[in-house]
Symmetry: C2
């Protein structure tokens, strides 16, 4: 009989449950020794978030918080953490695949405390925000990402290219997806790269443009691994891209709209989000390159002829909104945007107050986009960095 | 050398460009005969949208509008239509794969009219809304869906199951996707079903729940084709589901949250959207069944024991919002919800003002959801219909 679940998953379960168990056993040891149970967890505050310039990564600093069960201010959070850890542990040993949403439901209940004169009622948590935050605590405390604990999530990332991977019990040929694509699994660390015949990775923000490039045969022509994040990238897509870069040494190019939202998507791939720097160490791709669409592609500058004519600019350009300008000013101050190239890019934007969608480039002809604009920029190293 | 594009696409191009050409040649014939050029296009108004009870479909009635070039009120729309048709035709014969967004850009420009004393300037269109509406006109005028004209779009639908399909130049085994899934192409009419070993289709609204069921081996255990629409279904997912039902005679079950938004998703699969009834004839699956989560699953009724205990209801139920109640009242009046089952369902909702997410069911244990709740309901025919 065919097994219902994969061997890879069973091994991952064993490993994660062991680590989770060992970590929390230390808390129990404290109790056994008559000490107050305390968890020392790396602080996830902004002040403990450091941009490591050498590695090009956001990382957590050395500051730790001590979550003490006997401290009234900490007791609830302490209990929430152990409750969630026990739910995740149960899920691991019982072959479950929870999501963060159902972990919220699994733990949600009221605790009734009968006092001498009064009955107290307290909810374990009221909103998913609370239980999510506890999950992150467990991630930094155990140094296991949620994916390592087989917590699943929705996944938008897709990939095609001349490459075979092993996922679950199958070997999948990503060059044989027809007009469709391979939807990346939520636990990309469990993927094995079996056979790769590619020279670079192109990540496209927009799914529709991914479809166009795929269908036109772009990846076949240029030996590319073609990926879309379908908007803001999720964790699995980021981790998958990082692994292609780190393990296979493939350069990674990011193609987004020419606007601050596109820059932010690039930034999430390259650095991660400031709020979740703990994950950036494994999810970010510090040497991902911003291929375009850049402001100099649109307007040119003293060293470069623009890709658009005056008339095309008139037809294609969208006026920037207040929110775009605000976001651009924020991004301008991020450490990793403080390069000559990016400051130039952002200044052109703030000067012209103009943005452009990739679709405008496709409308000049898909052949222009796929077989001229993108390869020309890659060949000449025309990135913003 | 490997071809960059597929043979299937080249054949589809030939067919669509021929039909497009023939349709618009008739307009030119009118001109040649000295007649005013007129397009007769089925009306897409609400009054010309009919619920065909026998077929269970929304269809366009017999009313047509006459778009006359020599009528001042119609001239702009007439020109927009011919402009768009020529852009789509060019794309077809030039091996392009446009999206509706880049079709908007391709046609966007200003037409300058030099009068004796004054120069007039008129934009072909200002917003995508306008060009999209023209595309729909061309669809109903030519009886070609945009997909037939190789207009691509973003696509969210995923599928796994014991089934082989031919897409493009490849044969793809949907039972060998590992932990990932097959992302459906934007032109699902070009897919061939090669080999199918399945008994039913389960469509899950939420991608995360799809991941859970997939990973737990649900489709393997029950010979299901497992699909997610990842929220509101797009056209390709709807067409793919319809084809599975119509051509392979597989029953289709829809699993959504227990709320009016979930019912609406079911309604889009089953009937299509009221605004776009012209497409429903090919995209809707009139005999799709609403599997759950139903209000009677939550609360039970005189004939049925609920799946949730009193305490589970307390922990899982979400209070309905004003907007939910409003939407429920709208849905209650749709013709295809005027059945005993649906009116009962909607009345319980309006009475309890409560909704529930599928994740709450998963939190009772994925095994409960995958190996008890879903199969039990299918086996006993416990649908809302």
């Amino acid at each position: 009989m065919t097994e219902l679940t994969s061997k890879v998953d069973r091994e991952a379960r064993k490993k994660a449950s062991q680590i989770l168990r060992d970590t929390f056993l230390k808390v129990i040891e404290q109790v056994n020794k008559g000490e107050p149970p305390v968890m020392e967890i790396p602080k996830r505050t902004l002040s403990n978030t450091i941009y490591d310039e050498k590695r090009g990564l956001l990382i957590l600093g050395k500051e730790k918080l001590r979550r003490n069960f006997l401290d009234l201010n900490e007791a609830k959070r302490f209990m929430q953490t152990t409750l969630m850890a026990s739910i995740i542990y149960d899920a691991l040993v019982n072959d479950e695949y929870p999501t963060i949403r159902d972990l919220y439901y699994r733990g949600k209940h009221s605790i009734i405390l009968k006092g001498p004169n009064k009955t107290y009622e307290e909810n374990t948590w009221d909103e998913q925000k609370e239980s999510d935050s506890v999950i992150v605590d467990i991630e930094v405390f155990t140094n296991l990402l949620r994916e390592d604990m087989l917590i699943l999530s929705k996944e938008k990332g897709k990939v095609v290219g001349d490459m075979q991977i092993r996922s679950g019990n199958d070997i999948i040929d990503l060059s044989k997806m027809g007009h469709g694509a391979y939807a990346i699994e939520p636990t990309p660390d469990l993927i094995d790269f079996v056979n790769v015949n590619a020279e670079f990775v192109l990540v496209v923000e927009k799914d529709a443009v991914f479809q166009q490039l795929h269908r036109a045969g772009f990846w076949r022509q240029y030996k590319a691994i073609l990926i879309t994040s379908a908007g803001q990238p999720d964790r699995a897509t980021r981790r998958f891209v990082r692994r292609l870069n780190e393990e296979l040494k493939l350069p990674v190019y990011i193609l987004t709209d020419a606007d601050p939202y596109g820059w932010y998507i690039y930034s999430v791939f390259r650095i991660g989000s400031i709020q979740l720097s703990y994950e950036s160490e494994r999810l970010a791709t510090p040497n991902a390159k911003f291929l375009g669409v850049s402001m100099t592609d649109i307007f040119g500058d003293k060293n470069k002829k623009p890709y658009l004519s005056e008339q095309e600019r008139r037809n294609y350009i969208i006026k920037a909104k207040e929110a775009d300008v605000k976001r651009a000013l924020e991004i301008k101050n991020y450490d990793w945007f403080k390069t000559k190239g990016w400051q130039h890019e952002i200044e052109i934007f703030l000067d012209k107050k103009s943005k452009l969608e990739i679709e405008a480039m496709a409308s000049k002809g898909l052949k222009f986009l796929a077989f001229q604009y993108i390869p020309e920029k890659i060949k000449s190293g025309d990135f913003v960095s």
